[in-house]
């Protein structure tokens, strides 16, 4: 992607330095950051700090008192329902992420290895098209398909079967729809990793006596691992904070932790809502710190 030019052929004996650290250019460097710093500082940073503060302050009726307390965290961690929701959310998110990757990887592999180069762009473009349909409608479209009068019921009816009642308006439906929603993210990220891989290396490994599986495992896998990590993170983190899909297709059992936040704030229970928010944000930040080295944030969108 980088079109690095050949090193400037100059007779100069000392290394050529392009950047001139003048005071003015120094200042102008900061100048570019200013609007972003204001936008993110005031309307993202400050509200987040406020949420953290709320989680340590005391709820008083429908408002909040600036009295420090740990009671909010104690309540969350001592109420089985909340702990259950948190744990359920974690495994549902993990399951949805694993499934998404599992179905997206063969797809990306096929696209990168077996599809002609001139076809790859149009096919990738097709993957993005469903994004133009409103998120809400993509979700509800599945409720029609999976519902009792829907296409799946018709299809199963042909074989004399009924739609399983445990599917829609329960956890499986949430996971299924989340897999659908996040498939494009995973597919695009994995493809961009596989696209850069030089398949001749697999050939070389085969020529040296490795089996196909061995060649893929020891030659391809290590090279695309950062791409896989990026895909996992970019699917796991947004799913962790989902609350619309669980609300629309999850019924009462499919509730996720995002719904908890929503409910608390709708009921003006700011302190509790803030506490759950902080817990979610903590998981996100920890994941980002742990995987920061293998994340290819820029490359994902710089295509």
């Amino acid at each position: 992607m980088t079109t690095q030019s050949i090193a400037a052929p100059g007779p100069a004996p000392k290394p050529v330095r392009v950047a001139r650290p003048r005071l003015l250019s120094r200042l102008s460097q900061y100048l570019g950051f200013t609007p972003a710093a204001v936008l993110f500082g005031v309307f993202f940073g400050a509200p987040m700090v406020m949420i953290v503060l709320y989680s340590f302050w005391t709820q008083n009726g429908y408002s909040i008192d600036e009295r420090w307390t740990l009671a909010n965290y104690q309540t969350i961690f001592s109420t089985p329902v909340y702990i259950d929701t948190f744990l359920t959310t974690l495994w549902m998110t993990a399951a949805a992420t694993a499934l998404t990757l599992a179905i997206a990887f063969p797809f990306a592999y096929w696209l990168a290895r077996y599809v002609r180069r001139s076809w790859q762009r149009p096919l990738l473009f097709l993957v993005i098209i469903p994004f133009w349909v409103s998120y809400l409608l993509r979700v509800t479209s599945w409720t029609i398909i999976l519902g009792s009068k829907g296409g799946l019921a018709h299809l199963l009816g042909l074989f004399g079967l009924n739609t399983p009642s445990w599917f829609l308006y329960d956890r499986p439906a949430v996971i299924f729809v989340l897999v659908y929603l996040y498939f494009p993210y995973a597919a695009l990220t994995l493809f961009s990793a596989l696209e850069r891989f030089d398949w001749r290396q697999v050939r070389a490994a085969r020529d040296l006596g490795a089996t196909q599986a061995r060649a893929l495992r020891s030659v391809m896998l290590p090279q695309i691992r950062p791409g896989i990590t990026t895909a996992v993170i970019f699917v796991f983190i947004p799913i962790l904070g989902e609350y619309l899909t669980p609300q629309l297709v999850g019924g009462t059992r499919g509730v996720m932790i995002g719904n908890l936040v929503d409910n608390f704030f709708e009921e003006a229970q700011f302190a509790q809502g803030a506490t759950v928010s902080v817990l979610i944000a903590a998981v996100v930040v920890i994941l980002l710190i742990v995987f920061r080295r293998s994340l290819e944030v820029g490359e994902m969108y710089g295509r």
């Binding site: 992607m1 980088t2 690095q4 392009v18 460097q29 100048l31 570019g32 950051f33 609007p35 972003a36 936008l39 993110f40 309307f43 940073g45 509200p47 406020m50 949420i51 709320y54 909040i64 997206a104 063969p106 797809f107 592999y109 993957v127 098209i129 469903p130 994004f131 133009w132 409103s134 998120y135 809400l136 409608l137 509800t140 479209s141 398909i145 009068k149 829907g150 659908y180 498939f183 398949w199 085969r206 983190i237 904070g241 609350y243 619309l244 995002g258 936040v261 929503d262 704030f265 803030a274 928010s277 979610i280 944000a281 996100v284 980002l288 920061r292 820029g298 994902m300 710089g302 295509r303």
Partner: protein, 293 residues
């Protein structure tokens, strides 16, 4: 590229099998992706009032009812207005920040990078509720479309920033040095060299921000107050089950998006082609007297 020529025939046959299976899987995935979308399109023509199966006949009456519904038109207008403002803000702010992010040698550059990309990693619910409390409890602001614009900008700007930054990172700075050596000042360098080269990224970022804004629901729902955007309209509709009118809106939106992105692909190409043609003509003009010598 994938010229697998294996000597052993069995291996080749197995390779073909794998290839066939993977191709089948690929097609299955496209089916998976498009079934819900095509279903919406199909149901938008369905006479059935409940916006679902069975198909009782074909009609276009839902499209006429959409075009007549003033609620829906208001929602679309609000959404377009917000999207335009959000796009303008994110393009200006994102592009301005992309330069120092890529080029400066500031000590905290990577910290800035993380700080600026955090808003897309933090779940929308959290941004929504935190901004809601911030606007109402701290700033004491009335919730309007303007607060929604701010909330969405927080979410879309990082994308523009990343897209433009990626383009800048792959940018040959020698071009600017060359222009500088030829006597171009900073403004000329920016106007004549940098801007044309990063324009496609800015355009892509703008398109991205615009479409994200149009579909943003989670953040907006918390902080827009009584106003109704298109996703909020759809949300209130589907609470009572999908109506065919909503399906019609979805179909119109798909066609619209296809049109816009078709333009998005075609316009830069046409520009590039015409620029190239002009340049070639200029070169030809310049080359002629040189060739005559």
């Amino acid at each position: 590229m994938a010229g697998e020529v294996d000597g052993v025939e069995i291996v080749a046959r197995r390779g073909k099998l794998v290839r066939g299976a993977l191709t089948g899987w690929g097609l299955l995935m496209y089916l998976f992706l498009f079934v819900p979308v095509l279903l919406l399109v199909l149901l938008s023509f369905n006479r059935n009032r409940y916006g679902s199966f069975p198909i009782t006949g074909l009609t276009t009456e839902w499209y006429t009812s959409v075009l007549q519904s003033s609620d829906l038109q208001d929602a679309i207008k609000t959404s377009l207005g917000i999207a335009a403002e959000v796009t303008a803000i994110s393009v200006v702010v994102g592009t301005a920040a992309a330069f120092p992010l890529v080029r400066s040698r500031l000590r905290f550059r990577s910290a800035f990078r993380v700080a600026f990309t955090l808003p897309i990693m933090i779940p929308g619910v959290l941004i929504g509720v935190s901004l809601l409390s911030f606007f109402t409890n701290v700033l004491g602001l009335q919730l309007t479309t303007q607060t929604a614009v701010i909330g969405q900008s927080v979410y879309t700007t990082p994308y523009v920033l990343l897209i433009v930054a990626a383009r800048l990172a792959g940018f040959d700075r020698g071009l600017e040095s060359a222009a500088s050596d030829l006597g171009a000042n900073a403004f000329q360098r920016f106007r004549r060299i940098v801007l044309p080269l990063i324009a496609p990224a800015i355009f892509a970022g703008a398109l991205f921000a615009f479409t994200m804004s149009l579909d943003e629901f989670v953040i907006t729902y918390f902080i827009i107050g009584a106003q109704i955007t298109l996703p909020i309209y759809i949300y209130t509709q589907i609470k009572f089950g999908i109506t065919p009118a909503v399906n019609a809106v979805a179909t119109i939106l798909i066609v619209g998006s296809l049109g816009i992105s078709g333009l998005g692909i075609a316009v830069p190409r046409v520009i590039k082609m015409s620029v190239r043609r002009v340049r070639r003509r200029q070169q030809a003009r310049r080359a002629r007297p040189a060739g005559a010598v």
